[in-house]
């Protein structure tokens, strides 16, 4: 039983990261019906920018670890959001009226471009975050031994997802985003500037992805330019699992995928954990083709 809960905490920490990245996929898909394949690479860029800012500004030495990391997170979010907005302006917006396939190809191209840019700037070797930025203490919860950072990652993710959910549900801009997701034409008739809505989506999604990259860097320490591929694939899967286009779905899907992986590894076979996770995905899609929380969308003809 102890092992069950230990694996549960392992799965939750991994899943929280998947969920943060999945938000970017699902928001873009919701509004544009486009799979943004470059999103995983925005996550990588977040990890690398975090490393550069961390080592060059030495924030944590000046203002302590808690404030240092918080300021760092805000800076990374801002910068990656900016790159996300540029990506939309340069790679997607000119193709807005083209067939959907053109935008998907453009997304793949952007992904390759980002990956190679990171490799050329930072080199192909593994980069390592400085050690001991965050305290290595562990907390004893009912006999379970959980590193503090894992709890912080989970909490930070939940807080950020909660804030995003509130923003989408309760604010005017959020309402505009939801309206544009339902019907762009009608939204435009209601006086919503759809291009600005899309810009907003490309600021929010990459900000979440970038901060996830920073978290992975801070916690796991080791980053390289291809890391976005695995995380991107998993997060994309999580978004589909929860119902792509649905924001709470991405959160549920991400956390669920992390937990399924950990449980698959614990009780079946570690080498098969990805196969198990994808089997679950197939099963869920067979019985609920729109994902767990996906809305029933009438097919537009």
């Amino acid at each position: 039983m102890e092992q069950f809960f230990q694996q549960l905490t392992n799965g939750l920490a991994v899943g929280a990261i998947y969920a943060l990245i999945a938000l970017g996929y699902t928001m873009v898909y919701g509004v544009l019906k486009l799979i943004n394949f470059a999103h995983g690479d925005l996550f990588t860029i977040g990890a690398y920018l975090g490393l550069t800012l961390l080592t060059s500004l030495a924030l944590t030495e000046h203002i302590g670890p808690v404030w240092g990391v918080s300021v760092l997170a805000v800076m990374v979010m801002g910068l990656v959001a900016l790159i996300g907005a540029l990506l939309d302006r340069l790679a997607y917006r000119p193709l807005r009226e083209s067939p959907r396939l053109s935008a998907v190809v453009s997304a793949l191209g952007a992904s390759i471009f980002f990956q190679n840019t990171v490799m050329l700037i930072y080199g192909a070797r593994f980069q390592v975050y400085p050690q001991n930025i965050l305290p290595k203490t562990a907390i004893n919860i009912f006999g379970l031994y959980v590193p503090l950072i894992r709890i912080l990652i989970l909490l930070a993710s939940i807080v950020m997802m909660g804030a995003l959910y509130f923003f989408i549900q309760k604010t005017k801009v959020g309402t505009a985003i939801r309206a544009a997701a339902i019907d762009q034409g009608a939204a435009r008739l209601m006086g919503i500037d759809v291009n600005r809505v899309i810009l907003m989506v490309f600021l929010l999604g990459p900000a979440m992805g970038g901060v996830a990259g920073l978290m992975v860097g801070l916690y796991y320490g080791q980053i390289n330019f291809t890391m976005g591929w695995v995380y991107g694939l998993k997060a994309f899967t999580a978004a589909i699992l929860g119902g792509i286009g649905n924001i709470p779905g991405a959160m549920v899907g991400g956390i669920l995928l992390g937990v399924i992986e950990a449980m698959g590894a614990a009780y079946l076979s570690i080498a098969w954990k990805d196969a198990i996770a994808f089997c679950v995905l197939i099963l869920i899609l067979i019985f609920r083709p729109t994902g767990l929380l996906g809305e029933r969308v009438a097919e537009k003809v």
Binding site: A124, F126, M227
Partner: protein, 373 residues
Amino acid sequence: MKKLLLVALALALICGSAYAAEPVKIGLMGPMTGSWASEGQEMKQVLDLLAAELNAKGGLLGQEVVVVSEDDGGDPRTAALAAQRLATQGIVGVIGTYGSSVTEATQNIYDEAKIIQIANGSTAIRLSEKGLQYFFRTCPRDDEQAKVGAQAIEKMGFKKVAIVHDNTTYAKGLADEAKGILDANKDIEIVFFEAIVPGERDYTAILTKMKGFEPDVVFFTGYYPEAGLILRQKQEMNWDVPFIGGDATNNPDLVKIAGQDAAAGFYFLSAPLPKDLPSEDAKQFLEAFSKKYGNPPSSIYAVLAGDGFRVLVHAIAESKSTDPDKVANFLHNDIKDFPGLTGKISFDDKGDRVGEVYRVYQVDDQGQFILMP
């Protein structure tokens, strides 16, 4: 008429210049990008240095030696493409590569093109069991490594052993081989035998599961990027089980990834490291390398690639030919105790290196690799 003359002149120039300086081309296939990029980039540095030294001394068969390098990305699919590109460039032989599954994807391509391949880090047993006449390697084999690993486990008195691999040709081969040897020992019980998925960040799930089996020691046969993360996460879990790694964990980046605290006490098997090479040739080489690049080579596999280059050059010079059959024949039969940088080199019928023993190293508190007595 004028035009025709010009074309003829141009043709004559092209042919003439090509004929005058037809260099001896030697290929290098290594992981310049990807997880193992630090290995590949150092392989290239070593070969560039050796080729420059050779050309300064007058080259090979009176010609300049040119190293043509291709990136295999540490990935079998990329490697197959790299091998096809190299095969069309008129190379006599190719040095590389590091990973066994990567080498395996290219063996037949080189064999069909009659290009001599000298692998530098691919230790999987089955690579040389295919009867390929042009395949050699300067690194030892995994049956040798598994033997040394099993002996180390027996000698240190561990009773319950966990073995973890990553399903690559090399890691699985080494794990299976070690399991076979340890199973024969009645005092030792293998309590855990599984594979991880390489390229991920979080290995706490496998660590948690493995901890439940309470092994005395863990033998990890995968590569250094994952080994570093596993050591780091193991420390975070406050689990102090000793780890032994295979020779693919032998890379200074391991300590960087794991952090000094977590890497301290980690054992690994390896051919002697560059700094522990005894021969005079090796010392001179290390000096020249440090002078050119500012630091000594960190990986033994880069030096083994250098040995592959030197032995190939020697065989071409002695057999006075770039004919692959003659050179391969010379490598198989006529090289006896060639003074390599990593010790004496001879090849058996399969193209495996004869002799040369694995050593056990341990990482100390400062992150240095210390040769165990």
